[in-house]
Structure formats: structure tokens, C-alpha cells
């Protein structure tokens, strides 16, 4: 099966965590070497990685810091107690990297496993490594299973609108559907201001040999009104207990339009009971210069202000179907 590099965009090799720099795709496939938690926080904050990549970076950063500790490169001194303290520091730094993604729920799994091992008199280092490695293997298997489920949801003749990028799964599902003889075509929103649709989704659909057409974010209504799409599929960065999700800015208006034009909205989710509803999810407001300035040059007149919310909440009432993987969050 075709596997997109965006499906698993970070890995550890010889004490270094390599993170795919998604801001350079499709021009280059370059992996940023990350050596400690500080580097990990930087790649997250600078949006070099996002969505599922963040999840991988978080878990691998713990493995990296444990390796560093073993090599005497970590501030933690010897012993389970100090290792646990250091892991808590790593969790704290990652939790405060960006506000919307549920970092604390992911780091909580690692800290919980360290605490449990210590209370049971087991080796914290071994227990945490085992937990993370098991968790990563499980997530990979469940994501591959979800690729199959998405492919099953695709029907011959479908025109599918997607927004931003869903970390490889959609392109892989589309590729699979085509091998099953289903002719499906995709429309990808450009996804300003970082243009993940134009740069990532279009690229990986092309790599998967799936027909894809790029549209501006403002053409979603036209596309739906003119009958070009009969399904919308998007990812999600976070889920609430009531089924609300947070996803890339632009998702809410797409969901409202889909409901208006009676087009089913399918969302790929990671269910969590961490927050009760979308209202409890902190929405990241990023620096407006990220879209007012391009390549060091201001693209709108001086004095014009900008406003850049990074995410939308989509209420569960607008979601037709969720295809979930239970990540244990």
C-alpha cells in the first residue's frame, strides 16, 4: 500500500529525533534533527510539524530524553526519582508548546506510566520505554485500520472536499479505494495562511496518483452549490466528550456550508473525555504577522491589523460521521 511520508513524519535514529519539516514540502523532504525537548518544542511552535506529527514528536521526545539521561546528557542525575522529575519537566515544556492540541493528555500517559512503575518498585526507565513503544505500535496499527475504514466510506464517483491535511491517511485511503476500482476525485482547499492544502494534500494525492483539484478557501460555497462534491472529509486536532472537535481554521464554515447543502461531513477523530465540549478547548491565536508578512515583505498596507485564530470548533451537531481511533486519551 502507498504510504505517505506525512503518515509517520518523525522517527528516532542513533539518539536523534528526525522530524519532517512540513513547511518545506513539496519542494524538499527534509528532516530536522532534534536532540532534546527544547528542539522538540521549537519544531512544534514553529509549525514545522503539526497534527499527528505533534503526537509523534511528543512521545519520541520522552524516548530521546531517556536516551540522553542514559548517556549522561540530561540534567537528571541517577535514579528513578530524578528521572521521573525530569520526565515531568519534559511534559511541562511540551504541554506549554501550543494551546489547542491536547498535549497534556498525551504526556499524561507517559507520566502515569512512570508513576505506576515507581509505586510498584519497577524500573521507571524500562516501564516508560515499553509504554511508549507499545503505544506507538498500537497507534500505527489503528491508523492503518482507519485508512481501511476511510477507503470503505469512499464510493465510486465520489467528489470529496478536504481541508488542510490529515497526515497521510486520506491520501492512503484514496489510493486504496482506487486499487479497489473506485474512481474518486478530491478537492483540496488551499488552507491559508500556511497552505497545507496546496503544499501537503495536493502533493500527497499526486504521489498516490489520485486526482485532486486545488481551490481557494473562499470557493467552498461555489463548489458545493454547483454539485462538485458529495462528501467532505476533514481531520481533527482535538475532540471533546460531547463529540465537538477542534480543527484547522476554516473547518467551521465548511461544516456549516456542508450542512446547508446536505453534504455529509466525515471527521477523523481521536475521542477524548479530557474536556466536556468545544467551549472548553483553548483556541490558539497566532501572530498576525505570519500572514501579513511573506518572505520578509509586508503584503498588506502598513497600519492594517491582522487577526489569526489557528483553529475552529466544529459542534457535534454538524458532524455526520466520525471515524475514530481510540488513542487512549
Amino acid at each position: 500500500m502507498f504510504e505517505s511520508p506525512l503518515f509517520w513524519p518523525a522517527y528516532i535514529k542513533k539518539n536523534v529525533l528526525y522530524v519532517l519539516d512540513e513547511t518545506l514540502v513539496p519542494g524538499k523532504l527534509k528532516y530536522i534533527p532534534v536532540k532534546n525537548v527544547k528542539g522538540a518544542v521549537n519544531v512544534i511552535r514553529q509549525m514545522k510539524t503539526r497534527a499527528f506529527g505533534q503526537f509523534l514528536v511528543v512521545l519520541n521526545t520522552f524516548l530521546l530524553e531517556i536516551q540522553n539521561e542514559g548517556r549522561g546528557l540530561s540534567p537528571a542525575s541517577q535514579g528513578d526519582c530524578s528521572l521521573q522529575k525530569h520526565l515531568q519537566y519534559v511534559a511541562h515544556e511540551l504541554n506549554n508548546s501550543r494551546p489547542t492540541f491536547p498535549f497534556a493528555e498525551v504526556t499524561g500517559i507517559v507520566i502515569g506510566s512512570a508513576q505506576k512503575a515507581r509505586s510498584e518498585g519497577k524500573d521507571v526507565r524500562i516501564a516508560v520505554i515499553k509504554t511508549i513503544e507499545g503505544f506507538l505500535a498500537g497507534i500505527r496499527a489503528r491508523r492503518l485500520q482507519r485508512v481501511n475504514e476511510i477507503a470503505q466510506a469512499l464510493q465510486d464517483g465520489d467528489g470529496i472536499l478536504t481541508h488542510c491535511n490529515v497526515s497521510g491517511e486520506l491520501a492512503m485511503a484514496a489510493s486504496l479505494a482506487r486499487t479497489e476500482g473506485k474512481h474518486v476525485k478530491f478537492f483540496a482547499t488551499e488552507t491559508r495562511p500556511y497552505m497545507q492544502g496546496a503544499k501537503l494534500t495536493v502533493w500527497e494525492m499526486q504521489e498516490a496518483k489520485v486526482p485532486v483539484t486545488l481551490i481557494p478557501d473562499n470557493a467552498v460555497g461555489s463548489l458545493m452549490a454547483d454539485g462538485f462534491v458529495n462528501k467532505v472529509i476533514i481531520g481533527s486536532d482535538r475532540s471533546a466528550a460531547n463529540g465537538d472537535i477542534a480543527n484547522k481554521i476554516g473547518s467551521y464554515q465548511i461544516a456549516v456550508l456542508a450542512r446547508e447543502f446536505r453534504i455529509p461531513l466525515i471527521v477523523l477523530t481521536q475521542p477524548s473525555r479530557g474536556v466536556a465540549s468545544g467551549a472548553d478547548m483553548p483556541i490558539e491565536i497566532r501572530d498576525a504577522d505570519e500572514f501579513l508578512v511573506f518572505n520578509g515583505k509586508r503584503i498588506f498596507p502598513p497600519k492594517v491589523k491582522g487577526f489569526y485564530p489557528g483553529f475552529d470548533v466544529v459542534p457535534y451537531q454538524l458532524i455526520t460521521k466520525a471515524i475514530a481511533i481510540h488513542a487512549g486519551l
Binding site: P26, G27, H163, F187, T189, E190, T191, R192, P193, M195, A198, K199, V202, W203, Q206, P211, V212, T213, L214, I215, P216, D217, N218, A219, V220, G221, S222, L223, A225, I249, G250, S251, Y252, Q253, I254, V256, L257, E260, I283, I285, F291, L292, F294, N295, K297, I299, F300, P301, K303, V304, K305, G306, F307, Y308, P309, D312, V313
Partner: protein, 159 residues
């Protein structure tokens, strides 16, 4: 999150005629937000320049950020650029349909003002493949750039 008050934002979308921009008036306490208008950004640039000349400091947003403002209950009125209108609806600059549907859902009044007349209804796909002259999408990308869209009258009633 900036401390915008509920229903304090006037949201502008599309490439307005110079005359429409000159005549535009806003309540004193309203914040004026302008959709950038991909792919050319001409709408965002022309509108913000005109507003600055009139002494209004606008805030620009990407076209996909309008929904957030509605969801938060911040939008008090929407003004969109219209090429022509009759009893069945209006031909507006692309993006108008999104704002019209959102305005109806959130019970926000919507006004139509004259757009800069367009000679083409479809934009050059190449415009969308690049941003400010720099290639974004991979080689061989197909793009669809409608410049205008029909907004049915049901979305324009009670304005």
C-alpha cells in the same frame, strides 16, 4: 484572544467599486474586518487602502477565518461585493456564498454593495498555485478559481 465585544465587527468581502468604498460608513465603535480575497489579494489590499484613507484602521483576515468570527458571535453586519442582483438572487464575488449562509445561520444582517465589474468569471489557475510569486503547489497541480458565484435570494432576504 483580543477583547472584541459581541456583535462589534463589520465584515467586508469582495472587490468593491471605488464609489462603493467611498460611500461606506461604519458605526463609531465597530471593528472593520476585511477578507483578504485569494488568489490575487486585490480585494483585501484595495479595501484596506481605501479604509485607511478614510481614517478607519481595518483588520485583515484570511478567507477561511470568517466562520470563527460568526461562531464567537462577534459579527454585527456583513457587506459583500455584488456584480448584479435580481429577485432570484445576486451574482457576487466568490466567498459571498459562505458569508451569506453564515449570516443567515447566525442572524446577522447582510448588505450588498457594488463590486468592481469583472470581465471574467473564472480566474487563472496559475494564480492559486503561487503566493506572491513563489510557487506553493507542486508541478502539475490542477486548480479551479471561480471569481463570482450566485447567491440565492433565500440567503439575502431580511437585509
Amino acid at each position: 484572544m483580543p477583547d472584541y465585544k459581541v456583535r462589534s465587527i463589520t465584515l467586508l468581502q469582495g472587490l468593491f467599486s471605488s464609489e462603493a468604498l467611498q460611500k461606506m460608513k461604519f458605526a463609531k465603535n465597530s471593528h472593520v474586518f476585511v477578507c483578504e480575497g485569494r488568489p490575487t489579494l486585490e480585494a483585501g489590499r484595495k479595501t484596506t487602502q481605501a479604509l485607511l484613507k478614510k481614517g478607519t484602521t481595518p483588520t485583515i483576515i484570511s478567507d477561511n477565518m470568517a466562520g470563527f468570527l460568526f461562531f464567537k458571535g462577534l459579527v454585527k453586519e456583513v457587506i459583500i461585493a455584488c456584480q448584479l442582483a435580481d429577485n432570484t438572487g445576486a451574482l457576487c464575488d466568490t466567498g459571498a456564498l459562505i458569508l451569506s449562509v453564515l449570516a443567515r445561520k447566525h442572524k446577522v444582517p447582510l448588505k450588498l454593495l457594488a463590486a468592481e465589474p469583472r470581465s471574467r468569471f473564472l480566474g487563472d489557475p496559475k494564480l492559486l498555485l503561487s503566493f506572491e510569486g513563489q510557487r506553493m503547489a507542486p508541478q502539475g497541480t490542477q486548480a479551479y478559481v471561480p471569481l463570482v458565484e450566485w447567491v440565492e435570494a433565500k440567503y439575502l432576504r431580511k437585509i
